[in-house]
Structures are given as structure tokens and as C-alpha cells.
């Protein structure tokens, strides 16, 4: 994994081009900056200035090489590269509030814009008049739309909004495409039809749950489109499988709310948010359960040095504990909330690299090695993933000394190691070490 600090301002949104040599980011203002990768450095190559308000969403179409941006000025522009210059084309969205999110459809013949006007604007190009036309999906959205994701069939659109619900709509535009075949989400798909709507908090059962829920920050379809995952402001992550009505598995996590989520295989997803590190979740289709797979940011273990008496008293004064950890700040790579995750390589079915940008102005690329295999050592799952051991002495979130269960991956050059911990237990783990890792995994001392 590697961190590149672009600027000190938050990166509100980013988008990569097809071969991942260029990245378009918005540094929390009215402009889009495009950076070109040259060696290990990023060089600014273009500045796109047309918006009058903060840019809230950028998406770069890989095949047609067009960028669509949307902003708080209620407009969207489609940019095309002509003679080395990006030329904008205004798209009339007909919204009376800011746009919040934009995404190209898989075939890149239309894009969807979420907005604070409680509607989604689906835009397509009308070649007769040579301009972009928008159609609105309004019912039954009752608050700002925060995030969108397209189904691979180019027709279904998932939307997460501030009215605590995640929905799947049909965005079928007869002018640009054929009638879609039936999917697990439904077979009749007129424009604007709601094919799925999550319950109040999507939890199946549980005392007192089912009331509440939070704003749905991020939604993501799996690679096949049969599964939909969303993260919500009440620190939950939920997955629904199309077809099986009201099969929503959700996990109330112990972390702060997650803002963005992406599938990296059909059974696992990575999400990140206000806790500043990405986390892995694993979904078991047969049991219908979501489990926490581990944090994906293993901080460098600071060398254990003795702490002087003076420092002890200083710590007592500052932090009311005389603990030894000299945490200057966060130990994660990102120093502020992560707002967006994008898959770089491998697609959503076999992702090998993904990238996160956040409010600290940094961009981190992460490597994942994912393998499916049938033999198992410690768990009865057939799809297994890499896990990271959290080497911090404090362990996970307050669970002193307990080991979280992880799913391990095996490849040809597999290494095994054993950890002993403060709970007096000894566990053997099979681990695949990253090729780019800067951190090494440490064992606890008993």
C-alpha cells in the first residue's frame, strides 16, 4: 500500500481513468484537478474550471474517456478531451438543490445524478438535438440522495438516501437501450419503478432494533449484481440478496459510521469511513450473515522502549493513564475520515488493488490478495480472504487480548506463524504477506 499526500484540503471526490495513469480529484473547491502519474510522482496536467459551486461528484468513463462532474451549483458537466484540452458540455439536470453524487452507467450511455432535491436525475444523450436530457426519479424518495451504484445490466440503479433507506430503482430509458431481461430483483422494470426498498434499519429481528437506522452513506452492487451492500450512519453494514424477499443481513459494527463501501469479491466487501482505516467484511450466503473480517491497516509497531518516570507523569497529566503507547495521533495511514473507495484492479469480483481518498487530502492505494480455494484450516468457508492481524497491543476496540476470527488465504508461498496473547492463548495462523507492505506483523509477547 502506498500513501500519496496530494494536498492539505480534503479530497471531496476522485475518479481514475481506464489504465489508472491519471486521477481526477476535487480539492474541496469549484475545480477538478487531473494528475498524471510519472514514475512515482503525480504531476498536475489539467484544471477543469467551469462549476460555480463545490464539486460533489466526479466519474470517469473508462471506455469513452469522458468525465462527468456534478456540483453544489445544481449543474453537471460532461467533459471530453479534444486536442489535449477538456471541453465541458452543460447538462440541464432540472434540480433545485445541489447535486450530491454522479455515476456513469456500465455501458456509458447514461449517467445518474443524486441530489438534495430528493430525486435522482438520469441523463442520456439525445443525438437529434445534440444535448443531454434528464429524466427524474422522484417517488418515493423523501430526502437527499447520498450515493448511487449501477447494476451491471445498465438498467437498475441502487440509491442510498437520508431517509434511512436503500432502494433499487429501474432507470430504463427506452431511447437508448433494449428492454432488459429479468434479474433477481424483478422482471418488470418501467422507468422509476422501485424494485427493492430496505426496511427502517434492515435488521432481521432483535430487541428494539428495526426502529431507527441512519443515513445510507454508501451503496454497492456486487459484480454479478445479485447482491447489494450498503453502509449506514448508525454504524451498520447490510447486504441484501435479490430475489429472496426481506433477506437482509446486517452487522452492527463497533466502529464509527462507514462512509463508503465496495465489493472486492462476491462474498466480501471493504468499507471505510470516519475511523480512517478500511475494514473487511465477509458475507456468508448460506447462513445469511455478515461478519467482521478485520482492519486492513496494520500500523507500524513502534519499538517497545522503556518509558521514563517523567513521561509516565506527563501521560498521567495529559491522558489520565500512564500507558506506554506514545500515540501522537492516529496510527492509520489516513489521518482523517475516508470518504471514497474505488476499485483499481481486478473489478468487483477479484479486486487486487483499491484506492481510498479522504478528508486529509491523501490518497492511499491498498493491495489485496484474494484467492478462492476449497481446503480450509480454521473455518468452513469456501471463499477465503487475506486478513491483517492488528499488531497493536491494545487489540481490537477494547477486546483486550481476544483474537478476532479471520479467514485466511493460502497460496503457494504460504507462511505460518503463531501468536500468543495476553489471554494466554496460542493460535496458529496461515498468512500471506503483502509484496508492498511497509509493515511487518509482530507477535505479542506473552
Amino acid at each position: 500500500m502506498s500513501l500519496h499526500q496530494f494536498l492539505l484540503e480534503p479530497i471531496t471526490c476522485h475518479a481514475w481513468n481506464r489504465d489508472r495513469t491519471q486521477i481526477a480529484i476535487s480539492p474541496n473547491n469549484h475545480e477538478v484537478h487531473i494528475y498524471q502519474k510519472s514514475g512515482n510522482q503525480w504531476v498536475k496536467s489539467h484544471e477543469l474550471k467551469e462549476h460555480n459551486g463545490h464539486i460533489t461528484g466526479i466519474d470517469w468513463a473508462p471506455k469513452s474517456d469522458r468525465i462527468v462532474t456534478c456540483g453544489a451549483d445544481r449543474n453537471a458537466y460532461v467533459w471530453s478531451l479534444k486536442d489535449g484540452v477538456w471541453k465541458p458540455t452543460l447538462v440541464i439536470l432540472r434540480i433545485n438543490r445541489a447535486a450530491t453524487f454522479v455515476k456513469w452507467s456500465p455501458l456509458e450511455n447514461k449517467f445518474a445524478v443524486g441530489s438534495g432535491a430528493r430525486l435522482i436525475s438520469v441523463c442520456y444523450f439525445e443525438s437529434d438535438n445534440d444535448w443531454w436530457v434528464s429524466k427524474h426519479i422522484k417517488k418515493p424518495i423523501r430526502s437527499t440522495v447520498l450515493s448511487l451504484d449501477w447494476h451491471p445490466n445498465n438498467v437498475l440503479l441502487a440509491a442510498g438516501s437520508c431517509d434511512f433507506k436503500c432502494r433499487v430503482f429501474s432507470a430504463y430509458i427506452k431511447e437508448v437501450e433494449e428492454k432488459p431481461g429479468p434479474t433477481v430483483w424483478g422482471s418488470k422494470m418501467p422507468f422509476g419503478e422501485v424494485l427493492f426498498e430496505s426496511g427502517p434499519s434492515g435488521v432481521s429481528g432483535g430487541a428494539g432494533d428495526g426502529a431507527g437506522g441512519g443515513w445510507v452513506h454508501g451503496v454497492c452492487f456486487s459484480h454479478s449484481g445479485n447482491r447489494l451492500a450498503w453502509t449506514s450512519h448508525d454504524s451498520t453494514v447490510a447486504i441484501a440478496e435479490g430475489g429472496k424477499t426481506s433477506t437482509i443481513s446486517s452487522l452492527s459494527s463497533e466502529t464509527l459510521p462507514l462512509l463508503c463501501v465496495s465489493f472486492i469479491t462476491e462474498n466480501s466487501l471493504v468499507a471505510a469511513g470516519h475511523d480512517c482505516y478500511p475494514v473487511l467484511f465477509v458475507y456468508d450466503g448460506t447462513k445469511g450473515s455478515v461478519t467482521f473480517g478485520g482492519k486492513l491497516d496494520v500500523p507500524k509497531q513502534t519499538s517497545q522502549r522503556g518509558i521514563s518516570a517523567r513521561e509516565r507523569f506527563q501521560n498521567l497529566d495529559r491522558r489520565a493513564t500512564s500507558s506506554e503507547t506514545t500515540e501522537q495521533g492516529l496510527e492509520s495511514l489516513h489521518k482523517n475520515s475516508i470518504s471514497q473507495i474505488s476499485v483499481l484492479e481486478g473489478g468487483k469480483s477479484k479486486c487486487s488493488t483499491f484506492c481510498t481518498t479522504g478528508m486529509d487530502g491523501g490518497m492511499v492505494t491498498w493491495d489485496v490478495k484474494v484467492h478462492t480455494h476449497t481446503t480450509h484450516y480454521t473455518h468452513t468457508q469456501s471463499d477465503t480472504l487475506l486478513y491483517h492481524w492488528d499488531g497493536r497491543r491494545n487489540g481490537h476496540m477494547g477486546r483486550q487480548g481476544t483474537h478476532t476470527t479471520h479467514y485466511t488465504t493460502h497460496t503457494h508461498s504460504l507462511t505460518r506463524y503463531c501468536t500468543t496473547g495476553m489471554d494466554g492463548g496460542m493460535v496458529t495462523w496461515d498468512v500471506k504477506v503483502h509484496t508492498h507492505t511497509l509493515h511487518t506483523l509482530h507477535t505479542h509477547t506473552v
Binding site: 431517509d163 434511512f164 426502529a211 431507527g212 448508525d234 452492527s252 459494527s253
Partner: protein, 150 residues
Amino acid sequence: MSKNTVSNRFRTVDVDEYDENKFVDEEDGGENQLGPDEAEVDSLIRQGNLMEALQAVLKNPPINTKNQNVKDCAEGLVLKVLSAFKSSDVDKGVQSLDKNGVDLLMKYIYKGFETPSDNSSAVLLQWHEKALSAGGLGCIVRVLTARKTV
């Protein structure tokens, strides 16, 4: 100047009520929720079976009901059970709850913070610390984001 400008009554009008796009929560029929069973919980406390009392008092939370009395009653009962625990047993009590139980306990704890009485805050803070280590920050976030709470 005309005397009509003196009237300030328009300032007390709640304009949001007349907004046709105002977001109204879904009404879940909560009229049947009566809160935890007082008799059962009292008897369990008297018997000294505090673990069972904790489980019993966390049943039937009056989340959806609009009856404030039921909610106050439930809160008082929960506070009684929490105070009856010895400091060393608080940890075991929290461990005996499942995830939803910890979330519910945290909701009651924060509700209890709102109306402090003699010793309630100290007891609640102890419980808060243990519940936090079991439920993590997500648990507190769920208390904050819950639309309908105890």
C-alpha cells in the same frame, strides 16, 4: 407608521409544520408495548438473581410507544436493576448480553444520564465503561442515530 407592525405573533408560528415536504417518521403501532414487567423484575432483585433481573428488565423495551409514563417507568426500573449490581459484577452482567442487548443497555444508560439523581450517574458511568468496551463506539453512534428510543 401603522400600528399593525407591532404584533409579533407571527414569530411564534412554526413554519416547518406547514412544509409539505416535511419528513414524518413512519408510525409503528407501539400501543401494546408496556415495558418490562415490574413484578417479575422486582421479585428477581429481591431474590438476588441479578443476571436474570437484567435480562428481564431489557425485555419489551417501550421504544415505539408514545406514552411517556411507560417510558419513565421502564427507565426507573432499569436504573433500579443497574444500581443493585455490585461493581465487580457489572462486567459479567454486560458479557451476558448479546449485541442487541448491549445496544439497548446503552440507550437506557444515556436516558438515565438525562435525569440524574443522587447516585445514579456514578452507577451509570460504571456501566457505560463496560458497555463501551463490549459494544464499541458503534454502540454509542446507534444511540445517537436512533429515531425512536426508550
